[in-house]
């Protein structure tokens, strides 16, 4: 694979007057990678993408594509294409004219335009719609036109700015797979901006999580899920989000605030937070040793049930497969030691401490499809 599509950001910053949208960011994208820029709105992910595209000028730092310093090049000279959230289709042009718009700008011969158009239209399944105007297409089809427009340019790099956020949920999951398939088939380097952690987890080879203009964590989806670098990363990935419980000093170790009976971590962890994913918590009858709790309500979602459990005044979400009706019952909670995460007072992950084992917690035997009862 050529180095042509390598993207490198060196200490890139974007400031508007007093506000800093992107703060001293560096990362390096290897050719063929599908990289997700993930974060809540206002975290600077779109601005980062627009700086790579050349639509915004970096206030500081340098951007390289391949071996070229493109920091001050106009967008058209950077050799990349982009898919916009709003699709940015030209409403007065037919689908075909929209797709070849860039080829006409670059003065590609007519015959070659037609040839490439036919090939790309086939690829994104638009052959029957080439003469329509964008207004006569559905949202998913418009998205495909936008994709076709970036594919036909044959640039090795494609930037995508929340391309699926205007689509309904079902179409979105179809398009997720389609985009991913297209990317690996054409071996494109993709930088994909989204605030949707599902898109990030399912599509990305690598996820760069951002907050307040800085990178919080940069790793594979697996790493983000299993070893969140901060409480923010922990709460952003996964649905429902990871439970975060404040820890205070107890008699034999750190305990959950408001629930002083069971030490859950070494004393040094007090003042920080304990994080456990809803799917990693096991719910037992109150007689079994564990963290005492009370089921407040349950939400049945079809394949599984989310129980809202009160622990020392904090609400903890527990995911159980199947249907359970537990509201109002006392219970006890346990989790495997490797599934509990500790964060310090500033929210950063600490690996120097290991959470306490919850002694009686029997290692989860395959969960029975029990209805309306506890798991044993």
């Amino acid at each position: 694979m050529s180095n042509q599509s390598r993207i490198r950001l060196e200490r890139v910053t974007k400031r508007w007057d007093a506000t800093t949208a992107v703060d001293d960011i560096s990362f390096d994208v290897t050719p063929g990678q599908f990289v997700i820029l993930l974060g809540p709105s206002g975290c600077g992910k779109s601005t980062t993408l627009r700086m790579i595209a050349g639509l915004e000028e970096a206030s500081d730092g340098r951007i390289f594509i391949g071996e070229r310093d493109v920091t001050h090049l106009p967008p058209g000279d950077r050799g990349l294409s982009m898919v916009f959230q709003s699709y940015a289709l030209f409403p007065h042009l037919s689908v075909a004219d929209n797709i070849v718009f860039g080829l006409r700008s670059r003065k590609v011969p007519k015959a070659e335009q037609r040839e490439r158009l036919a090939k790309v239209a086939e690829l994104v399944d638009l052959t029957d719609y080439l003469h329509r105007k964008p207004a006569q297409l559905s949202g998913g089809q418009r998205q495909r036109v936008a994709l076709a427009r970036s594919v036909i340019s044959e640039h090795p790099i494609c930037l995508m700015d929340e391309p699926l956020s205007n689509l309904d949920a079902r179409l979105r999951s179809d398009m997720r797979r389609e985009i991913k398939a297209l990317q690996s088939r054409l071996n494109m380097t993709v930088i994909y901006v989204t605030h949707d952690q599902v898109e990030a987890m399912s599509m990305g080879d690598r996820v760069i999580l951002m907050q307040h203009g800085s990178i919080v964590q940069d790793g594979t989806p697996d790493e983000l899920y299993n070893r969140p670098a901060s409480a923010f990363a922990a709460s952003f990935i996964g649905s429902p989000a990871m439970n975060l419980l404040p820890l205070v000093t107890g008699e034999q170790g750190a305990v959950i605030e408001g629930e002083t009976n069971v030490p859950v971590a070494p004393l040094e962890a007090a003042g920080g937070q304990l994080g456990i994913r809803p799917e990693d918590i096991e719910l037992h009858p109150a007689s079994i040793y564990g963290v005492p709790a009370m089921v407040v309500s349950d939400e049945y979602l079809g394949a599984d049930t989310i129980a809202h459990v009160s622990v020392g005044g904090h609400t903890v979400r527990v995911r159980m497969s199947g249907k359970h009706a537990l509201a109002g019952q006392p219970c006890s909670l346990s989790w495997a030691r490797e599934n509990a995460h500790l964060f310090d007072a500033s929210g950063l992950r600490r690996d120097d401490l290991t959470p306490n084992p919850l002694p009686s917690a029997p290692r989860a035997v395959p969960r029975p499809p029990a209805v309306g009862s506890f798991q044993h």
């Binding site: 639509l55 967008p75 982009m82 007065h92 860039g102 207004a135 340019s153």
Partner: protein, 286 residues
């Protein structure tokens, strides 16, 4: 239910009928009769009034003037309006001020504007002749010279109209999503090419609207002729509606006035229909 619908339409229908349709019909009927003298009844003469009108050299001169006026004002004011709109739509310091400055001529009443331009054009003390004099040229009699007068009127009309049309273009430009420009920038499209391939076609509905409006305006000129030239010298700046006005209220020749009015209406209808049928097909409405 049908009665209900008809009642909803009634207020608009009454207004239109009283102030548009009835006068139009009355005018058409007027143009077919000769008034009787000394109490004699009016006499139906058919197309004779039109025959007399078409034999009148002054009418043709006025019609020619109006054509020159239209050709002189419409394309210039539209082009100028578009340029101004593109200019103030960009990133610009003091953008609000420039926009307001461009729009000011439109807010001024026509009579006031014409009076201002009287000072510009005045032969001895006028601004233009003073400037020319300072540069060592002899002055021009802007409104008195039959060869120059119509041009002077055209310049003033362009000045007055361009700002008005600019507002429409500016509104339309703001309706074009900025991503379109970004998408075309990413393809390395030049500004020139982007304008002709995207901006201009997307502005077509506005252009069509402005075209029809400016056409109507060009046969609606009375007030600034009234101030500036009164149609003179020797009808050099006389335009159709002013000629109608003269016939009706100076010469008290209602019949000729009605006849010219009908001719204007017909010409306008034909041109507007042509514009809509030809341009509409090539216009993209969002």
């Amino acid at each position: 239910m049908q009665l209900y619908g008809a009642l909803l339409l009634l207020p608009a229908a009454i207004l239109l009928a009283t102030f548009a349709y009835l006068p139009t019909i009355a005018t058409v009927i007027n143009s077919l009769f000769l008034p009787g003298f000394r109490g004699a009844p009016t006499e139906f003469v058919g197309m004779e009034n039109y025959q007399v009108l078409f034999d009148d050299p002054t009418f043709w001169k006025v019609a020619r003037n109006n054509l020159i006026y239209a050709v002189g004002t419409i394309p210039t004011s539209i082009a100028l309006a578009l340029c101004m709109a593109l200019f103030v739509n960009g990133k610009l310091r003091g953008r609000g001020f420039v926009r307001m400055a461009y729009f000011t001529p439109t807010i001024l009443p026509m009579i006031a504007a014409a009076n201002i331009w009287m000072f510009f054009y005045a032969p001895q003390i006028g601004l233009f002749n003073k400037l020319l004099g300072a540069l060592g040229f002899s002055g021009v009699n802007w409104l008195g010279d039959p060869n120059v007068a119509l041009g002077s009127v055209i310049v003033m009309s362009v000045w007055k109209e361009a700002g008005f049309f600019m507002i429409f273009y500016l509104a339309a430009l703001q309706g074009i999503p900025p991503e379109l420009k970004e998408a075309s920038d990413l393809e390395g499209t030049s500004r020139w090419s982007f304008f002709w391939r995207v901006t201009f076609p997307l502005l077509m509905p506005t252009t069509l609207f402005v075209l029809i409006n400016s056409l109507i305006n060009s046969v609606r000129v009375v007030d600034h002729l009234f101030i500036l030239t009164k149609g003179g010298p020797n009808n050099a700046t006389n335009l159709l509606l002013y000629y109608v006005y003269e016939n009706a209220f100076s010469f008290f020749d209602r019949t000729t006035a009605a006849t010219i009015t009908v001719v204007i209406l017909l010409v306008l209808a034909v041109v507007a229909t042509l514009k809509f049928t030809i341009l509409d097909r090539r216009t993209h409405y969002q």
